[in-house]
Symmetry: C2
Subunit: 82 residues, 2 copies
Amino acid sequence: MEVKINISLKKGVLDPQGRAVESALISLGYSEANNVRIGKQITLEIEAEDASRAQQRAARMCETLLANTVIEDYSIEIADPS
Amino acid sequence: MEVKINISLKKGVLDPQGRAVESALISLGYSEANNVRIGKQITLEIEAEDASRAQQRAARMCETLLANTVIEDYSIEIADPS
């Protein structure tokens, strides 16, 4: 089952990488860009009987390894819930 | 207009970070994880009259700064196409 995990910094957590990209965009002339935040998107395949089991295992992976839940939020999408 | 940009390595491009995460997952007991790939998700606000204009500007930003189009693909989602 193909799973997409989006990991982003929580609101209120400073994002220096996003700030740097925003400054770069503005200095390149993209003055309409605002509030740039940079997160991770992890795609993986999980062998599981059904989508809810895959979702559960992905959440476990996030909690134990993929995300730092003190400062990051994650969301899980099952791409082909067949 | 809120815009999400997903940047991922093209198929066939080696992803050492994904490999490392996959090994870590497997050694933590998640043997069902497979083919882990890691990309970036950039969220930003773009001031634009309409969604198609925002989409166009975002594509320009990807081409000139955000993505390395030699090895990366990008996709753009307009979150609130109001």
